[in-house]
Symmetry: C2
Subunit: 228 residues, 2 copies
Amino acid sequence: TLESRALTKTYFSTDPPTQVLGGIDLTVREGEFVVIMGASGSGKSTLLYSISGMDRPTSGNVLLEGRELTSLDDAEMAGVRLTRMGFVFQQAHFLSNLDVRDNILLPALKAAPKEKDAAIARVDALMERFGIAHVKDHGITQVSGGQLQRASICRALAGEPSILFADEPTGALNSSMSEEVMNALTDVHSDGTTVVMVTHDPGCAVRGDRVIYLRDGLLVDSRELGTW
Amino acid sequence: TLESRALTKTYFSTDPPTQVLGGIDLTVREGEFVVIMGASGSGKSTLLYSISGMDRPTSGNVLLEGRELTSLDDAEMAGVRLTRMGFVFQQAHFLSNLDVRDNILLPALKAAPKEKDAAIARVDALMERFGIAHVKDHGITQVSGGQLQRASICRALAGEPSILFADEPTGALNSSMSEEVMNALTDVHSDGTTVVMVTHDPGCAVRGDRVIYLRDGLLVDSRELGTW
Ligand SMILES: Nc1ncnc2c1ncn2[C@@H]1O[C@H](COP(=O)(O)OP(=O)(O)OP(=O)(O)O)[C@@H](O)[C@H]1O
Ligand SMILES: Nc1ncnc2c1ncn2[C@@H]1O[C@H](COP(=O)(O)OP(=O)(O)OP(=O)(O)O)[C@@H](O)[C@H]1O
Ligand SMILES: [Mg+2]
Ligand SMILES: [Mg+2]
């Protein structure tokens, strides 16, 4: 279970400071597929960063299985993220000196250095599934926008995380490739992975167990989606 | 009129080289709104870069109003782009040391240094229209994904280009903000601007005069959209 209590986030880098998140109480049950929606600028990415330990909240608590993430130091937090979490960023962050395949492999190898062959096999299978195997040797700056986004998804799934955070994973993709991505998220979810996904696409949102809505940095609604 | 004849593009940076565009013959009439669609990796961004002078074709010609763009040197080509073209990139490229407003202003000021006040007024009006005026003083790295995309659109429109190239301008935006962007493109088009837009969203494509389809680097179809 991933939980936030009275979570706030203010950026002090601007003048005046930018208050982005008011007090957010959120509980993500183990194995749940939660979708976050809301207008551009409402705080969705900021919320994702705050509950995944990518960024420190300004106040409030974040707990993972009862353990206070907010009290870990940077190294401990990085360890939790590496071994337990996968992250698909809204704007892909990669290492520009590495090719596509090594970029995807890197976190999976770091998380499980003794299981190198298994990680390589998983990455190759993921690249096949998402149709980017033919560009695996390209530099990461030598691929199309949609190929980059698919590489981002492969990297997040490669380490078999127990929690997957996905920030607009289908933005650069047409409907058939979006479908493929959503099928992969649905598959890992059926295997027990917790998924927290930001999307503005209702067609993707409908794959979740529950949709929560952000407006001006506050949770304003939460709706269970029935299973068919 | 913007025209390509037997345009090809091969990237020699990979081994083996990547042939992306086969021979492309394309005519974009002055004032036309052409939409380019096709699968991820089919060559849409590459085509846009090749016909806008952002990148040099491997072979073939590109002509703007009968003038050979492909024979201009880099400085002349940069001059044409600055004064005649606006470009919305698929992944926003900005100057990270400048704030949002200055990033948007910069090309408009460079294109028309004697008309500073007019450019500033246009930029401020554009930021208001797209709801990013409240973040104009943020660093360009201190905004949300959708705000960044809207800044990209403002920058492309700020210089009142005669040709606007837009590569997936609505990818990071929900339906209401996408609508706002498409309205702005439709408006400049009614004012006589030529628009060449890549999209994978049929809802956006339908705003064009004509849709052309790329598959594996070749133009495979072209359809006129009737006006209602
Ligand atoms: N600098 C480069 N070097 C080598 N290959 C490249 C380079 N840039 C792009 N490519 C390859 O060229 C092909 C077409 O890329 P392009 O970016 O034009 O596709 P696209 O149609 O815009 O796709 P998307 O919808 O994903 O944005 C892809 O297979 C890509 O991997
Ligand atoms: N580093 C920062 N410094 C100051 N303000 C920031 C910073 N990062 C984001 N913001 C602001 O915080 C607000 C929320 O940003 P966030 O990225 O969380 O929005 P979002 O809901 O993900 O939007 P989008 O749908 O456009 O991606 C925005 O108004 C943005 O300008
Ligand atoms: Mg965001
Ligand atoms: Mg592209």
